[in-house]
Amino acid sequence: MLFNSYLFIFIFLPLVLILWFSLNKMKLYKIAEIFLIGMSLWFYAYFNFSYLFIIVGSCLFNFLISYFINRIEKKIFVDSTISKLESDSYGKLEIKILGILGIIVNLGILFYYKYFDFFIENINYIFQKDYNLKNILLPLGISFFTFQQLSYVIDRMKRTAPHYGLIEYMSFVTFFPQLIAGPIVLHSELIPQFKDMEKRKFNIDNFTDGCVQAILGLGKKVLIADTLALVVNQAYYNRYYFTTWSAILFILTYIFELYFDFSGYCDIAMGIGKMFNYDIPRNFNYPYKSTSMKDFWNRWHITLNRFFTAYVYIPLGGNKKGTGKKLRNIMIVFLLSGLWHGASWNFVIWGLLNGLAVAFNNINPKPIKNKFISWLCTFSYVLFTFMFFRCETINDVGIVLKGLFNPVGVKFVVDMAQYMDIPELYIFKRALEIIAPGMIRSLYMVAFILVMVICTLLLCGKNAEDIVKERKYTTGKAIGLAIILIWSVISLSGVSTFLYFNF
């Protein structure tokens, strides 16, 4: 199920909230938790029932790993014949084996569903073989919930996390606001909140803040990102016509779309979390204001970078084993980050480019002092790297790059604007058809520029979380939010042109 769907907005969310707080008010805490797990699984399995088995199986497996580690831990505690000195090493090997087994199985599942075909494609290419691809449909959010559970298994292996009950653990992994597209919430952030019974009471303060943030997120996703997607997708389809300006505009529009899409979704997740009185960590912190790539990666997809830092970078030695190893560790992290985003060489190169830039930032003895120039350089580099992110193949990157170095006219820029054929423009379009048919292209151009200006202003202004923190409660704000919500809701359904009659 998607946040931006009628079912979620009109039925699912109100139903979960009402029953969750009602059950908790009746002190039926366990039933409330089971109910929340059930609803989260419905949310997850809405599009494909069979994937329910994957997430439930994955949760049970990781729970069992933790359970067996717990048994070993208990034995240490109960067995009084083991001295303090012995207890530090007692069972260490078994725990390590269990932890490694957990890591292997989690990564194995992820590999099978996400990377198997990519792996086979490369084997076929390198060894000139013809092994069949499995064309496996990627289970929704598998990268997110796998990493979330990996962090728990590693923490259990390191004995820095407690063993949780099955219901607690399932509540944490399946909690629907963060299940499909993150943020990657850690057990230490969410489970203590679940255990806090004070948070089970309806809190109008948090509920209001949550509503505001979720509505703003929905608006970012539906009204802005989805509108920009019309231009980006059509422009990409016609990428062979790119010239310098249209290629730049294409990437610029895409990085706006990407930010408003992903951060909008995260705002909805955080907002819904707040409605439940639970804090979900922020994932974006004005990333396009970064003045270096190192800075950018502290602001973009924060929870993923936090994961890689804690579970890859630091275990590899972090920055404590000399510059060479530090740079190596950075490159490993970013290559893995690239692969995490998708099974394609484009993502690997994207990771590599980001890794190189961050490594450069780490060793550059003379960073640019002028803030504007450093911002411009960073933003331009972000633009360049995201070209690899959007294009589906390396070949397509070449086509866009070719366009980038083809400074012939701006005709395609005007064509690109026309892809933004949104219903809001319909009346103006029809009116112009009657009074000034030649101006219709200008109408699209004006609308496109307007949307891009709005995006820029929004990027320069406060993000949704900070707007919530402002705590300004004016009538205008209430009306504005209501307009954003209803405008987003009416944008969820369309009227398609049936192409049969396309003579």
């Binding site: 109008i204 303060d205 219903p423 029809r430 209430a478 209501a482 405008w487 359904s493």
Partner: protein, 351 residues
């Protein structure tokens, strides 16, 4: 401590949401451009241009006693032609590319609401030979308009396209220009005839065997037969439209000529015995079939042909009877040969 500012703000937010939501839903309900809830409120006109979205609503809410049923071949009839000739009130039950199950679904939906005097049914050969399809439901169709579940009406009541495009379009056509309600779903006025976009099949394919199509023809005709039998109060006037000579050529080249003849023959066999059925067969109208200036592709002709067919139905000139059906089919086979080898080949040789 409870923050009263926030409570007031939340109340304002909820009230604002409710006011705007009810206003949007109210506007859509009032104008109802897909006629899901009611027929047009005067002085608005029934502006009908999107069959997939509007037909089902019109069948449920409009006043009528007769229907024009069919695929795109039926969309260019003006309802008023039938009203004048047959003294009835007609609307359309059409779907572009409709197969038999689609049309049966629409007609059954109409029977749920009305007593129907006449059904003018365009009998497409392709719809008789097409793959079996039990239900109307198609992927991507706006099913919220078809089912009777009020909950999924949110997709209609809260729909940006409906609000910003369909309602203004309805208003504009009601008050500006001279929109003719009889021309519902007409597409011919936007098309150019006589300039065909056609590339002939170059290699003759092997003829389909009876086993390959018999089941489909039987399935589709059974559906129609059952419908007709269960509504003896309705006159079913079936019309077999005059596709161009190029369609006959393609039928021959694709190896479906025998199949198409079989479908028509079976239609005669199974429908003619039913008392409430008339069949008018127009494929032997040589002067039309051979005149490609009347067509925009291999099958779709202009509105003048539609008008002519209506008049010919009333004169019974092309009506099929038990007595003439065999001779008609025999003659048609000779004529088909002429369509293919004379008219079509001449046209193709000039391409």
């Amino acid at each position: 401590m409870i923050n009263t500012n926030k409570i007031i703000f939340l109340k304002k937010l909820i009230v604002s949401i409710l006011i705007i939501a009810l206003s949007v839903a109210g506007i859509v309900f009032l104008f109802d451009p897909f006629f899901h809830y009611h027929k047009p409120i005067k002085p608005l006109k029934a502006v009908l241009t999107q069959a997939e979205y509007q037909v089902i609503g019109t069948l449920r809410t409009f006043d009528y006693d007769s229907l024009i049923a069919g695929s795109s071949m039926a969309e260019n009839y003006n309802n008023k032609w039938f009203d004048e000739v047959f003294d009835c009130t007609t609307i359309k039950a059409v779907k572009p590319g409709a197969n038999t199950s689609d049309l049966v679904y629409l007609l059954e939906a109409a029977y749920e609401e009305k007593n129907i005097k006449n059904i003018f049914y365009t009998l497409d050969v392709a719809a008789l030979t097409t793959t079996v399809q039990e239900h109307y439901v198609n992927e991507g169709m706006p099913l919220y308009l078809y089912n009777k579940n009020p909950l999924d009406d949110v997709k209609y009541l809260f729909n940006k396209h409906v609000l910003f495009e369909d309602i203004p379009y309805m208003i504009a056509n009601s008050f500006i220009g001279d929109y003719d309600e009889g021309e519902s779903f007409n597409w011919a006025k936007y098309k150019e005839f006589g300039k065909l976009h056609y590339s002939p099949t170059e290699e003759k394919q092997s003829d389909k065997t009876k086993n390959e199509y018999e089941y489909y023809v039987d399935f589709n005709l059974s559906k129609l037969e059952n419908l007709v039998k269960s509504h003896p109060e309705t006159n079913y006037i079936f019309m077999v439209p005059p596709y161009s000579c190029l369609w006959w050529y393609e039928s021959y080249m694709c190896g479906t000529l025998e199949q198409d003849f079989y479908a028509i023959e079976q239609a005669f066999e199974r429908l003619l015995p039913l008392e409430n059925v008339e069949i008018h067969y127009f494929q032997n109208m040589e002067e039309i079939v051979s005149d490609l200036s009347l067509y925009m592709d291999t099958i779709h002709y202009n509105e003048d042909v539609n008008r002519k067919l209506v008049d010919l139905i009333s004169t019974n000139e092309y009506r099929v009877t038990f007595e003439n059906k065999d001779a008609l089919l025999e003659n048609m086979k000779i004529l088909a040969d002429k369509y293919i080898n004379v008219y079509a080949k001449k046209y193709i040789s000039n391409l």
